[in-house]
């Protein structure tokens, strides 16, 4: 007889969502979190996209700590001296409230409390070392030498999957599996944010950046999201490019981003209040561990469920949905947990956007993390814009001629531009 029906490792969005669903289904659930309180170990931008949480907490937006709703979304290329952006402001987007800007420190604590309210047993400040496997079946978890038993375990430990690694259930991570995220939270008065980012006090600005100005092969994206009275500024940098470069400190990429003229003026007079770093799954299908086994299921970042195409970075919604689907799988197989019954988790993921997105966008990282997207594109766009707006009292050229000159001056052939552009459009 096990001590718990289910043990959930990690009270991030994946784990807490799973625990709520399980507790609602009448299960005896232990939710274990190493941070005390939950959220104190976690790092995100963060925009939570979509409304998945309503499946377990029906009117969640009423009580959740939401900083602002995205009403202005930008995607921008930064070159050394320029910014080329697509800016989308929309009243429909405002009404749909699709993007909720959150601070994980507050949000995770709130969500874990919801799990507790639903009847899960929440213990914090406890670090699980590994799964306990007996005769090929997971029978519980090990914590500082003690074994806690359960019929099933949901692994929701996030992007640095020590439990899976320690249990021999996935190889160590490599440069291609993850990118390095670095983030700063900067204090700015609410009214300054409203004015500077042209939003009202409910509305928010969220922007992704391609850092085309970085030299020596370094590839990194950037983001800036407005909270109520702070701004989240961060980068997500490729580890294999950092390694190939061999002479740039990761924290200096963050430093260069915040010093960029078009970022600097956005955070002017801001007071830095926190520095943070965390891994971001980037490898897609190729990096995924086995998602289930006899007695366990893997969810969220631990399963490498994230999506990024340079325009958005999403992982929290994938975590929530995979957590709920893992819980459903266990609920449907109460009393008959086995590798075979739990395999239905994968079917559920395939029928949802979680795995379908990963399949649809398989290989997208070859586009988002390419020199074409991150270096050539911004430079060409910059040349085109400059030729169009730098009025020198000369006869004007057609856009195609301008583009062609820009392509050439950036050392590229027109045919290369077309084939790279086509590949990019197809993958995105």
């Amino acid at each position: 007889m096990s001590e718990f029906d289910v043990i959930v490792i990690g009270a991030g969005p994946a784990g807490s969502s799973a625990a709520i669903k399980l507790a609602q289904g009448g299960m005896n659930v232990l939710l274990v979190e190493r941070g005390d309180p939950p959220g104190t170990k976690n790092v995100s931008g963060a925009v939570l996209w979509g409304d998945e949480l309503s499946k377990v907490v029906p009117d969640w937006e009423r009580s959740a700590p939401i900083e602002r709703y995205v009403t202005r979304k930008e995607v921008a290329f930064l070159t050394e001296k320029s910014k080329i952006a697509i800016s989308y402001s929309s009243q429909d987007l405002m009404e749909r409230k699709s993007g909720k800007i959150i601070v994980r420190g507050k949000f995770d604590q709130w969500l874990a409390r919801k799990a507790k309210d639903a009847g899960a047993m929440l213990v914090t400040g406890i670090t699980i070392d590994k799964l306990v496997i007996d005769g090929g079946k997971v029978i519980g978890v090990m914590q500082d030498g003690d074994v806690i038993t359960s019929d099933a375990v949901i692994v929701a430990e996030g992007a640095n999957p020590r439990v899976l690694i320690n249990s021999g259930l996935r190889p160590k991570l490599s440069d291609h599996d993850v990118a390095l995220g670095i983030k700063e939270t900067i204090k700015l008065p609410e009214n300054v944010i409203n004015e500077r980012f042209n939003v009202d006090s409910k509305g928010g600005y969220a922007s992704e950046f391609v850092l085309g100005f970085l030299d020596d092969g370094i590839l990194s994206g950037g983001f800036l999201y407005t909270n109520r009275d702070t701004v989240s500024l961060g980068i997500v940098a490729s580890l294999d490019r950092l390694r190939a470069n061999g002479m740039t400190h990761s924290y200096d990429i963050m430093g260069k981003f915040e010093e960029h003229p078009f970022i600097k003026n956005l955070i002017k007079d801001g007071i830095p209040d926190e520095y943070a770093a965390h891994l971001v799954p980037e490898g897609g299908l190729a990096s995924m561990p086995k998602l289930y086994g006899n007695g366990y299921l893997v969810t969220g970042d631990a399963a490498m469920f994230t999506f990024s195409n340079g325009m958005v970075l999403q992982g929290i919604n994938y975590a929530i949905t995979s957590g709920i689907l893992a819980a459903e799988t266990i609920l449907e197989n109460k009393g008959k947990i086995s590798e075979e019954t739990l395999s239905n988790y994968v079917n559920k993921l395939r029928n949802s956007y979680v795995l379908s997105d990963l399949y649809t966008f398989n290989g997208i990282q070859n586009v988002t993390w390419s020199d074409f997207t991150q270096k050539t594109m911004p430079k060409i766009l910059d040349s085109v814009m400059m030729s169009m707006f730098d009025e020198r009292g000369m006869p004007k050229k057609h856009l195609m001629q301008v583009l062609s000159a820009a392509v050439k001056s950036n050392g590229m052939k027109y045919t290369e531009l077309i084939s790279s552009g086509y590949r990019m459009m197809r993958k995105m």
Binding site: G35, V103, D144, T185, H249, Y251, A277, H278
Partner: protein, 90 residues
């Protein structure tokens, strides 16, 4: 703002009796790339007169150095219990 100043914004509960990450100085002594020094976002790995110096106290538990070191020197575990970095915002 310097990295040292940024790190000073952070709160930690430091476990003085247990270093959750350790390195093997013999391996580091012959390391050709010292990639840990460049990869660690918290400046825990530094070169002092050519010798690798590692301090776990500023670690934010990201896991990067375990990937960065391709020479088998880093032994990586999570801090015990609730020790380590305590983010306010995260």
């Amino acid at each position: 703002m310097k990295i040292e100043e940024k790190l000073s914004l952070l709160n930690y509960k430091t476990d003085r009796s247990y270093a959750h990450i350790t390195i093997d100085p013999d391996i580091c002594a012959t390391c050709p790339d010292h990639f840990c020094v460049f990869a660690c976002p918290a400046n825990c790995y530094t070169l002092i007169n050519g010798k690798l110096n590692f301090k776990y106290e500023d670690c934010v538990e990201c896991g990067t150095c375990d990937i960065a070191c391709s020479h088998g020197s880093v032994k990586w575990t999570l801090p015990k219990g609730d020790n380590g970095v305590i983010y306010k915002y995260g």
